[in-house]
Structure formats: structure tokens, C-alpha cells
Amino acid sequence: MSKITQFAWSSRVLHWLMAVALLGMLAIGMHMVASLEQYRLLVGIHRPLGMLIWVLALIRLVNRQLQPLPPFLPTMSARERLIATASERLLYGLMLLLPLVGWGMLSAARLPVRVGPVVLPPILPHSVALYTLLRRSHTVLAYLLFFAFMAHLSAVLFHSLVLRDGLLRRMLPWAPKANERSDADSSD
């Protein structure tokens, strides 16, 4: 059988780079607001990492348009496919939006955003009302991203461990071996 069973090489690399960056970012963001001692270190990582995620998300968006997708597994119902598509769009949207909200809120408060030796220009006018709105949005969107990530993780684990349909294998960084065929494949 010659049908595509894995995501494109570039898609898999981008996925796992983003997974590490996002998981790190969520952990840093959560701990940053709770820690007096680590605040300085974490803010110093949070801001440049946010910009990196934004750039990575833009690259992923372009890659997503260019690379073919493996078909949905037969173990996924029409409704599940709809949910998977919607949650993918939500994750892409949040990856692109959250860094901009963060940059925007600091701009509105006129706090310099330092990325290495460079200070990024403000992207919004000086307004503490705007800062308040965006600061709250940043928290709400970050929690939304966290729950979207948890749902994504749960779904992948459910498919891989309970249904054992080899869903995760489509995204693994390495190519699957012949003896690692899944139940779903063998039932084709």
C-alpha cells in the first residue's frame, strides 16, 4: 500500500518544536505569576520565547498549506473529525494570537519588550485601559490554550493507548517500522 501514513517531515519537525516551546511556555507562564523569586528569570525567557512561538506559528501556517495531510484514521467518526479540525484551528489561532496580545499589552502599558539586545517597538497606543483589557485577555486565552492542549493530549492518548489505532505514529519524528503496524492498518 502506498498511501501516506505520516505527516510530512517538515510538519513533524515543526509540530514537536512547537510542542516543546508551547509546553515550556505554558509552564513558564503559570509559574511566572506565582513566583517572586523566579519572576525575573522567567519573564526574561517568556517574552523572547513568545516571539519565537509567533514566528514558528507563522512558518507552520505556511507549511500547513503546502504539505499534504495523511487521511483521517477509520477509527475517527465524522463528528470526531469535525472536532479535530476545529481544535486544530483553535490551537493555530491561539499560537498566533497570544504572543500578539502579550506584545500589545506591554505596548499599551509602555513597558519595553526586550528580545536579546533589541527593544521591540510598541504596536499599540499608550492606554492603561487597553492594557487592562489585553492583560485579562492574555490570561483567558492562555487558559484556553492550556485546556485545548489538555484535550489534544487526552485525545491522542485515548487513540494510542485505548483504541490502539497508531494515531500518534503519524506524527512521530521517525518513520514507522514494518513490524510496528497498527490494528487499524492491519484491518484495512
Binding site: H31, R40, R110, P112, S182
Partner: protein, 383 residues
């Protein structure tokens, strides 16, 4: 093949086998067990995030809880800073003389003039408290530098800080707060705090050894925390800095018998002086040596340390908070230009975190009129 590469390969192989075991059907576990495994993994990840967010350690001091302490001791004062609540906005400029360039590549030290917005304030979270000679005075400054860079600093007129950790600061706030019944700190609580923190008594001794000057205009303001300067050659120098008044220091004037000071006498005097003529301070860097602590703000550095005068700050405008530009500035001591960095003093991170929390809370609240005003238009409403 080098041993570490072998080890890395072995690790990668194990990881791959583990992942394969998860992904592939080759497992003898029953469906229920596998379902439970999914639950355990998902709940563990959730718990890790709860832990990181501080949800599992409600007694650990966080930026929010430190600011809560201020709010609970001082009562609600919407729109005001949670500490150093009573203040005025000032502006002017800084002129560097170039002497700082051998120590730091920061553009603020290159000869020339940069605009400055600042704020004079009194320590404490009560925005309408009457001025007191013994209350700690502060000077917050924001230097606007080329290429979007800024230097923000918050300094006090005391030679050292009273504690060296955020936790001790929180304990001190509670221990020294006046008891509602006696209007004085509870002596037992205070004694317990002093016994636990010997650095507090030592620092208070050093602070009391310096009698306060007559007002804001003739006070010396100190960075308290240490910072690291880096010059063009990459050499790092640890420093503390001070704003030393050019106008001569005066003694606190004695009041005629029976007279009481007006509630804003310190601020009123400052406003009158600035309107009379610009006020000036010299920015002096004190260069630390190997033996000088950068981690402990309660320890003074010896008087014999080299001091470098790097320029002059001129304050030529003063305005109340309602209309002045300082109200929306967070004088976060870690907003620094290239060439200046924070030291390992844990108070710097704590200040940055707590100031951010205070800023976020207060700018979301309605603005009330400040105690100190310079024009009729500022009197928005009466407190």
C-alpha cells in the same frame, strides 16, 4: 565512539522503545487498565501545572499574596500604588558627563541629555496619610533612551533596606502594622520578628544613624539593591547608585510651639522649591569590591569605596498625580538598558513581580484625586 555519544544513543533507543510500546498494540494490558493509564497521565500533567501555578502551595508567598498583605493592612485605596501610595509626578532631564562610559556601555552614560519622568513619594500604602519627617522618601525615575530603551529605577532616602528577602518583608509589614486597638505594633509580634531577623535590627540601626534632612529636595536617594554594569570591553562591575542633592542639605525646621505641621508639608515644600528654581542631583555610582555583598540589601558597603559622579539630574517640573505622567509608570527596577543588569539580589526579582501585580491591579481601578495637587483641574473628586 565517545562514551557520552554512546550513552546518548542508548537513551534515545530506550525512549524510542518506550514510545513505541505506548503507540503500538503490542501490550497485554486490558482496555480498562489502558483507559486508567490515559487518566493518570492526563491528571499528572494537570497536577504539574497546578503545582507550577502555586495552587498546591497556598501558604507560599507569591506576588499576589504580597500585594494582598498591603491591601489588607492599609485598606482599599482604588487607583493608587499599593506601596508608596502618596506622591507627585515630576519631570526634567539627565545630563551625563561621560565618566560612566568606562564602566558601562549603556547609552545613558554617554555625554548628552535624555528626558526623565519621575515621582517623589512617601513609603506606605495610605495615599492620604499626613507627611512625616521619619517616613521613608522615594524617588522613582524613568530615563527615555535612544532605540526604545529605558532605564527605570526606584530609590529610597535610607542607606540600606530593612530586610533582605521578600518573605521577611511580608513578615515585617505584618509585625510592624499598628494594632487596631492600641494604634501601635503588637510588642510580642514585633519582638518575635526582630528575634527571627537580626538583619532588621542591624539595618534599622544604620538607618537611624542618619538623621533625615528637611525634605524631598535635599535628600539622597539610594538604589539599595546592587546592579551589574558591563562596558564595551565586556568587563562587569558591581555597583549601587545614589542621587546626591546639589542643593545643600538643611535641618528639619523647628515648628513654633503649639503649631502642627500641615498634612502635605513635605510635598508642598517640594512643589514650592521646584517652582522657584530647578532642583539638581548628581548620579553617583559606588563601585563594589569582591567582599561587598550584592545579595544582601541590608548590608552597607564601606564608605571607602570608589564613587564615580556620572552626571546631573535636573527636575524642573512638578505636577499632581491626576494629570502628571508618572501615574501610569511602573518604576520596575528591572527595566534596564543594555549595559546595566540586575545583580543576584533576590529582592530585585520580587520587586519587579510585586510592582507588576500592583500596577495591573491599580490601573484597572477608577482614578481618585490624590492628596497632593498642583492645580484646580486635578481635584477630580473628594476622597
Amino acid at each position: 565512539m565517545p562514551a557520552d555519544r554512546l550513552r546518548a544513543n542508548a537513551l534515545l533507543c530506550i525512549l524510542r522503545c518506550e514510545v513505541n510500546a505506548l503507540v503500538i498494540h503490542d501490550t497485554r494490558l486490558g482496555t480498562r487498565t489502558r483507559l486508567a493509564l490515559v487518566g493518570v497521565i492526563v491528571l499528572s500533567v494537570g497536577a504539574a501545572f497546578l503545582y507550577l501555578g502555586g495552587w498546591l502551595s497556598p501558604h507560599q508567598l507569591s506576588p499576589g499574596r504580597l500585594v494582598d498583605t498591603f491591601e489588607s493592612l492599609n485598606g482599599p485605596h482604588p487607583g493608587f500604588r499599593r506601596n508608596h501610595a502618596k506622591g507627585v509626578s515630576v519631570s526634567g532631564y539627565f545630563e551625563a558627563n561621560g565618566a560612566g562610559t568606562r564602566l558601562s556601555k549603556a547609552s545613558v552614560f554617554s555625554p548628552g541629555r535624555v528626558p526623565v519622568v519621575g515621582r517623589f513619594a512617601l513609603a506606605g500604602g495610605m495615599p492620604y496619610a499626613p507627611d512625616g519627617v521619619a517616613t521613608v522618601r522615594s524617588m522613582g525615575l524613568r530615563f527615555s533612551l535612544p532605540h526604545g530603551e529605558e532605564w527605570r529605577t526606584g530609590m529610597n532616602n535610607i542607606p540600606v533596606f530593612v530586610v533582605n528577602t521578600a518573605e521577611a518583608f511580608n513578615e515585617q509589614l505584618i509585625a510592624t502594622a499598628p494594632d487596631p486597638a492600641t494604634k501601635k505594633p503588637n510588642p510580642e509580634k514585633l519582638a518575635a520578628f526582630i528575634a527571627k531577623h537580626p538583619e532588621f535590627a542591624r539595618a534599622v540601626g544604620a538607618i537611624k544613624a542618619q538623621a533625615p534632612t528637611s525634605g524631598f529636595e535635599d535628600s539622597t536617594y539610594n538604589s539599595l539593591n546592587a546592579f551589574e554594569l558591563t562596558n564595551d570591553a565586556g568587563q562587569v562591575t558591581k555597583v549601587r547608585w545614589s542621587m546626591v542633592p546639589v542643593q545643600p542639605a538643611a535641618r528639619v525646621p523647628a515648628l513654633p510651639p503649639g503649631a502642627a505641621p500641615t498634612p502635605n508639608f513635605l510635598f508642598d515644600a517640594l512643589i514650592a522649591k521646584v517652582k522657584e528654581q530647578p532642583l539638581r542631583w548628581r548620579l553617583v555610582l559606588t563601585i563594589g569590591q569582591a567582599a561587598d555583598s550584592t545579595r544582601d540589601s541590608t548590608l552597607a558597603w564601606p564608605d571607602s569605596r570608589e564613587r564615580v559622579d556620572v552626571g546631573t539630574l535636573t527636575i524642573d517640573h512638578v505636577e499632581g498625580e491626576a494629570t502628571g505622567p508618572a501615574r501610569t509608570i511602573n518604576f520596575d527596577p528591572l527595566v534596564l538598558p543594555n549595559g546595566i543588569a540586575g545583580s543576584d539580589d533576590p529582592l530585585l526579582s520580587a520587586r519587579s513581580a510585586a510592582y507588576s501585580q500592583s500596577f495591573t491591579r491599580r490601573v484597572a481601578e477608577p482614578v481618585s484625586s490624590s492628596a497632593v495637587t498642583t492645580s484646580e483641574s486635578e481635584r477630580v473628586s473628594t476622597p
